[in-house]
């Protein structure tokens, strides 16, 4: 019984230390002011078609979209979502070293502190949870954050 209790004590102590570390890790990302984004869908490229495929639960947010010829697509530069890239504040525009260094806020660079991308696109059709657009300069599967008219 004594052994069992000691074993339990050690186990719980170790669990507690482990849990404390997890908590610290979660908090280190969120100790500064911050806002949380959840993707509402993603960019799908298949054959020659470009689709914005929303999660089914967001489908009702598309009501009336078919009245419009264009949509502003807000998505996330998820390929650049690393602490290092999010610290870059100056770039050569369009990645061309011939272009003088400029602050990222004076560019459309895909590296920036908040990786928000904006593109105005032509709507080809709206069906269920899918908006077909003519094209978008985004990688396949890029997370979509918002649409606006």
């Amino acid at each position: 019984m004594k052994d069992f209790r000691l074993h339990l004590l050690v186990t719980i102590s170790l669990s507690w230390v482990g849990c404390t570390n997890v908590c610290k890790e979660e908090k280190s990302n969120t100790s500064e002011p911050h806002y949380i984004l959840h993707p509402i869908g993603k960019i799908v490229k298949e054959k020659n078609r470009t689709l914005i495929v929303l999660e089914k639960k967001y489908q009702s947010g598309l009501l009336g979209m078919e009245q419009f010829s264009q949509v502003t697509v807000i998505y996330w530069f998820d390929r650049n979502d690393t602490p290092d890239k999010r610290e870059i504040l100056q770039v050569h525009p369009r990645g061309d070293k011939q272009n003088p260094i400029r602050g990222v806020f004076a560019t459309h660079s895909p590296v920036r502190p908040n990786l928000i991308a904006i593109s105005r696109c032509k709507i080809l059709s709206v069906r269920d949870n899918i908006v077909e657009i003519d094209d978008i300069d985004a990688f396949p599967d890029s997370p979509v954050l918002d649409l606006k008219n």
Copy 2:
């Protein structure tokens, strides 16, 4: 000694339960795919002036901004950042019940799942960490997320 060990065991057990709850709470917000935004500054309205005041650490991201006459300001509808409001998917455009219900993605409504606001503004001046603009339809102190040219 036995009493002490039992006491320690109970204490650690309670701490562990407490910590587990904290971890669960942190994770409940972040268990789904998500991205983190940190404000880069805020909208300041003083007298008849409208300023985008960046945090000092982001100032170098403004290099070259003075070459441009306009800037796209991306900010956060922070007054609506509640779980309830972020679940609204359909609205009467411009809050007018005469307007037929429409999906938020086919509007500029300030309630939407991701509270991203976009406004194109005229630049009046750029100095240090401050961009003065002509005006913006945003509440004072709204958190600014990004600027683009």
